[in-house]
């Protein structure tokens, strides 16, 4: 294991907890609303933004946030208005932002800068500063407050946007808030997990949580727990074996997902399923 100063280890652990928490929390929206392609594009836009920031010697986080939010703003209304499938729109956006990202990396003057730029692709335990952690912490708090305040509106929108609108909810601001927060989450976690892989942390953990319960409220609790465990395990593997942190985290989330699918009660026949679908009186009235 690589010997590291205590301060750095602390930063890494806090970073892992915060990135795991925010990514998997927003992942619940992304997975349930089936908007993976939109978030996927945002991740790559954030990567291109960070690469541009390094090229221009501007704080990469700022440009990453700018690009991710810009794509969120563009994709929200575009996917609503355009008579194209979101897959097509995001496919174009994905390829363009990836191309831009690699052009920006290619334009870097020296190997040191190129190395820094590449760390945005794969993530680095050394890249996180206290400043980044404070921003990630504030984002986590913000997400929890926003979800807590508008819980019932978000639940209705996750269930079905059209039905939510028909129920008298102004769905558009909430939908755009989800896109905006996903963009921020991606950008803020970029240095740590890496632009190519941050999205796997978002999707895999939420998809894993979905395997264990039929109650969306429990998914929102389980998903961050799985996210934090996965990122901490990934960091440990990264430090132990010298792998890039992003790849380690993603491999862990993928293993957890496969495990969750295999052992999911939703796929088991027999008692587990009968307990859920039985017509007995165990589900008594609330009254």
């Amino acid at each position: 294991m690589i010997p590291l100063p205590t301060g750095l280890v602390l930063r890494v652990i806090i970073g892992a907890v915060l990135a795991g928490f925010t990514c998997s929390m927003m992942g619940t929206f992304v997975v349930q609303m089936d908007i993976s392609s939109i978030g996927f594009s945002m991740a790559h836009a954030a990567f291109a933004g960070a690469a541009l920031g390094l090229l221009l010697s501007v704080e990469p986080l700022l440009t990453a946030v700018g690009f991710a939010v810009l794509v969120a703003i563009l994709l929200g209304p575009v996917s609503e208005k355009a008579r194209l499938s979101p897959g097509v729109i995001t496919g174009v956006s994905f390829s363009v932002t990836m191309a831009l990202g690699f052009i920006f990396i290619n334009l870097h003057p020296g190997p040191a800068e190129t190395g820094a730029a590449l760390s945005i692709l794969w993530g680095s335990v050394f890249a996180l500063t206290w400043h980044d952690l404070i921003l990630l912490f504030l984002l986590s708090i913000g997400i929890v407050i926003i979800i807590g305040l508008f819980k019932k509106e978000f639940m209705a929108i996750i269930f079905d946007r059209k039905m939510a609108k028909a129920s008298g909810i102004s769905t558009r601001p909430f939908y755009f808030t989800i896109l905006f927060l996903t963009g921020l989450t991606v950008a803020f976690s970029l240095k740590f997990v890496g632009g190519l892989l941050v999205y796997a942390l978002i999707v895999n953990t939420a998809a894993s949580a979905n395997q264990y319960t039929y109650d969306i409220k429990e998914v929102f609790i389980l998903s961050p727990i799985i996210g934090v465990i996965c990122t901490l395990l990934g960091v440990w593997i990264s430090l132990q074996f010298g792998f890039p942190v992003g790849t380690s985290i993603v491999i862990v989330t993928a293993v957890v997902f496969v495990f969750s699918v295999v052992f999911s009660k939703k796929r088991k026949k027999g008692k587990g399923l009968l307990d859920i679908s039985g017509r007995s009186g165990e589900y008594g009235n609330r009254k």
């Binding site: 269930f159 008298g168 039929y214 589900y283 009235n285 609330r286």
Partner: protein, 246 residues
Amino acid sequence: MSCIELNNVTTIYEGEEFPTIRNIDLKIDKGEFVCVMGPNGAGKTTLLESVNGLLDHTNGDVTVLGKDVEKRGTDVRKEIGYLLQSFTFSTEDPFLVEDVVMMGRAGRIGLIKSPGEEDWEKVYDCMDLVGIAEFAKKPIGKLSGGEQQKVLLARVLAKEPEILLLDEPFSDLDLKAKEELQELIEQIFERRGLTTLMVTHDLGSVPRVSSKIVLMNGGEIVLEGNPQEVIESQTWKSVYGFSLGG
């Protein structure tokens, strides 16, 4: 004063050249049960979604409960219960029945506020009414098609609407489920007296409480009147190719 009023309404979908509904004039009084009928593509669903403002109309005026739908769509939708056509759920969907029904009240409860005891009582009353209270804590995807449709009907009723819009509520249901739901809709209408606009293309599913049939074809209302008159008319015969009249 009419509860629902459409004056010369035309709706063209984005990117389409021709209107899906055109020059629609329709008045529905409070407490009426009206069936909208017509073949596939007649514009029935478009008409419903123009009424509750889910779809922006291109021309004309839609007024519901005295409010202009174009300007006050969200307010209007809080008073309308809309049962959408053909909804199916995955067996893995993580949504419990009681939560789905509560979602119907979200617009009425208001922003930031959490559902209170009274809201839960209303939700359980609605589940009792449609006969799904025993499924309250089950995932919606585990219920049969008929039971799921009842959950969505309970969700619509939970918001305590003044108007019900039902879009093909019996499609994809087997005969037994269809009869049960049909009876339920009639009971709800008789008990609560909700102004109801129901789209159907099946003559057998027109409830006996219907006061009027609006017959649509090619995006236009071609006839409206009491059910017996409409189904015995020549217009009905020309639209459907058969007549039940002499």
